[in-house]
């Protein structure tokens, strides 16, 4: 046991994901050696993030205002919506620089094994957006896992009757990979989704 102020910080740090007792101790003692202003900046950053960040009222991305910067951007194509599981996934799709539409964050995936049904996700909000925002295509960007597959199938089921085009990201071989190492499921999907050249 350390002196109470140090022990308190170690206990708090150790509650963070991926940080054990030893790492928490190292971080705490590191913070003890940095400039006081650096420590203040860190604590301010944590507090400000908690106070200012909320969910975009349109797409449920994280934002510091009523709508996120992507929804506010008038240059983006409002008829295209990319559906992702978590806000972090938006950054990944943005990095591809191939998508210029808007997003919709579901807040998770349907899990047939854990019993997470669509009622726990933002399906209803998406259907409402399709009805009111003139969306013509919904691109499903859920993970290519059992949960992502189930979510995509559910989405297609509820969106098709709305008369909107529903597409899903292609599954296949990773760029730079070796055909030798491809597994049956991935290769099977790559064959089904092959494109004419």
């Amino acid at each position: 046991m350390f002196e109470p102020p140090i022990q308190r910080l170690i206990d708090e740090l150790a509650r963070l994901p991926g940080i054990g007792r030893k790492s928490a101790q190292r971080l705490a003692f590191h913070l003890l050696t940095v400039e006081e202003e650096d420590a203040r900046r860190l604590s301010r950053a944590i507090l400000e993030m908690r106070e200012q960040v909320r969910l975009c009222r349109r797409c449920f991305n994280v934002t510091d205002s009523d709508e996120c910067s992507i929804c506010r951007d008038l240059r983006r194509d409002a008829t295209l919506v990319c559906v992702v599981e978590r806000p972090q996934d938006i950054v990944v799709v943005e990095r591809s620089r191939e998508f210029r539409g808007r997003y919709h964050v579901l807040g998770g995936a349907v899990s047939p094994i854990e019993g997470i049904g669509p009622e726990r996700l933002r399906f209803r909000e998406l259907v409402e957006r399709v009805r009111t925002e003139g969306i013509t295509e919904v691109i499903i960007a859920t993970n290519p896992s059992v949960e992502g597959d189930a979510t995509a199938l559910y989405l297609a089921k509820v969106l098709k009757p709305e008369g909107v085009k529903v597409t899903r990201l292609a599954s296949g071989l990773p760029v730079g990979g070796d055909l030798d190492y491809a597994d049956e499921l991935t290769l099977g999907r790559a064959l089904v989704g092959r494109q004419e050249m």
Binding site: G18, V110, S111, P112, I113, E114, G115, I116, G117, P144, S145, V146, D149, A150, L153, Y154, K157, P174, G176, G177, Y181, A182, D183, E184, L185, T186, G188
Partner: protein
Amino acid sequence: MALRNDQGIVLRSYPFGEADRVVVLLSPSHGKIRAVAKGVRKTTSRFGGRLEPFTQVDLVLYEGRGLGIITQVSVIEAFPHLRGDLERLLAAGTMAEVIDAVTEEGEGSARAFLLLHRGLHALEAGPRHPDLMTAFLLKVADVVGVAPALDECAGCGTREGVTRFSFAAGGALCPRCRTPAAVALRAGLTAYLARLAAADLSDLPPPDPSFSGEAMGVTRRFLEYHLDRRLESLASADV
């Protein structure tokens, strides 16, 4: 500290650390196995889709202290079609959940393995039979030793007048053995359940829509009562 070969069906997996997953598999000889698949969440992982739920695989495991580590995987059967259909995918999820609930680590479970294998085969083969899940759950009850008495009284064994059904007493009851909690079932339902319990999962008798819903309800409640847990995936399967 050794390498060993095994085979199994992937029941589920959950994220572990930065890019790994703990995979839960059912092996016929070693029961439930939990092992780490390193880097499997990266798109460049050499495991790729081989460790997705419902895949039957051959594996090489490195067993040290704590969780084993999967070092090689090859697919025996991938059941690719059941992933393209919501109903079949949800049914496979329920099968995996139930089998996960009734098996233990380190205890051979060849019967549970074969049952899951047959269930997935039946789903992969074509559209889901309306009674497939009911038949599967009845067979699970048999594998864990709580099969309900259906065509004879659970109390005295008589085949005459078994019109009541009790979850606690283990199935159908005659008027002499009936308990206060025993409920009256529609005539013919226990016989319908008995036919399903005895049938092959890939060759079930033609469904009777007037019995299917009730048969599922009774079987589900019976199994939930004896396993003492709610079957979560069945709740979300009601689409």
